[in-house]
Symmetry: C2
Subunit: 259 residues, 2 copies
């Protein structure tokens, strides 16, 4: 029973999110249907991150075990012909049968995109939150960096979270304008794990600082309060993208099938 680590990119527009739901089309459902069709029996697909409805991914990681023994390249091709163009298996690599996409993940990297110009961009309308008022990216970056380190992120966590611990380690948290289109502002964050709505609530809070409604230090106050009501609003899902999931060297062979 060969096990594969699949790297999956998807445009989350119009889907109910990664996880199967009672109604609507999920990315997990599409992948499980493709895997099951390929293998001739029901195949579960386990994702590293449960992205919400409308959230995108460039580097979601999915573990799946097949009865058929196929070369990694053949798995990529066979799945892509069974998937819609909005979902692509970028690479596959054979891993130990003990591989667990979620529990073995050491870190995840997300990017949140903001289109900061008076007029929205037609090409970013499904991939960036449109904030028409000018943002001060220097103070946003200062605020974002206050979240680096190990903290209790309860203040940035959806009420319905059912996690055991709300402590997480954030390795990188930064904001910058992207050249050449300076209207594009990105928030890049890497961490040991993320609570439900955590990245989007951080973005909603940092934007308050960028609009001049709150000072930089407010971010530290909100964090220390451990009170969700203190943070800003949750930024919309379509600006968010799961960029990559990092694993320890042990759980993977050295070379991946390249893009």
């Amino acid at each position: 029973v060969p096990t594969y680590k699949l790297t999956v990119a998807y445009d989350g527009t119009g889907y109910v999110g990664w996880q199967r739901q009672a109604s609507g089309t999920s990315i997990q459902g599409l992948l499980e249907d493709a895997l099951s069709d390929l293998d001739g029996r029901p195949v579960p697909a386990l994702g590293a991150g449960r992205t919400d409805a409308g959230v995108h991914a460039r580097g979601q990681v999915v573990g799946a075990s097949l009865d058929r023994d196929l070369a990694a390249d053949a798995v990529v091709r066979a799945l892509n012909v069974r998937l819609p163009p909005a979902v692509r298996v970028v690479s596959a690599v054979a891993v130990a049968s003990t591989f667990h996409a979620r529990f073995d993940a050491r870190a995840k990297t997300y990017q949140y995109r903001i289109w900061n110009a008076p007029v929205a961009d037609p090409f970013e309308r499904a991939y960036a939150w449109h904030v028409p008022e000018p943002l001060d990216v220097v103070v946003m970056d200062s605020a974002a960096r206050l979240l680096e380190g190990e903290h209790d992120f309860t203040a940035f966590c959806a009420a319905e979270t059912d996690t055991l611990s709300t402590r997480r380690v954030v390795m990188r948290s930064s904001v910058r304008r992207q050249a050449p289109q300076l209207a594009l502002v990105t928030y890049d964050v890497s961490g040991s794990g993320f609570l439900r709505h955590m990245v989007r609530t951080i973005v909603g809070t940092i934007v308050e600082v960028g609009l001049g409604r709150q000072p930089v230090e407010w971010l530290a106050e909100v964090l220390a309060s451990e009170d969700r009501r203190r943070a800003g609003r949750t930024a919309p899902p379509h600006g968010l993208c799961l960029i990559a999931v990092q694993y320890g060297e042990d759980s993977l062979p050295p070379a991946e099938t390249s893009l």
Copy 2:
């Protein structure tokens, strides 16, 4: 009767192109409906370039005259609330009533995007042609540069063209890979004007060189032949984008409403 030069960006996916057609939704039709609704009488919108179905624009230029005397910023806002999110008026500027978006244009710049990797990118599926086989961008660029200068472009022109002259001046014609995603290959071309399907046929021809099926000098042979049957196939429309239209200083006041 104030006349405005409008800069318009649109995602051409699903539209019949710039020009009004007997059936389907055109960008011109959407703009004329918005202008007419704003002005309370039928307002024609004249575009600088007649983009084909599925072709995009970042900098289409449109001329329109209104009875109402509105500030340029007010025109931008009033039109955008009347347009779908796929079409945005990026800026408006008051110009002389003699302004003609097409005849006054000195040059146009197009970009054609190619996604050159074994697996397609979900986020580029509507904005780039997927060419899975490796492209040699160095020879493609050499071939592209053979088109710079004044030439008869009949070989790269759709049969149904009804133009008086097939001579055009190409100021820039170049191919490169874009960092950070080296899978993205772009063809950038600026010229005094373009024949129907000219950019897409140039791209289809240059790709033959990039795939190693033809030598660089073949581009010069095809050009000199003035025979459409000698060129490569017409690349698909969704990779093409009208980036900008240049005008002489005379036809415009100095400052534009900025993005």
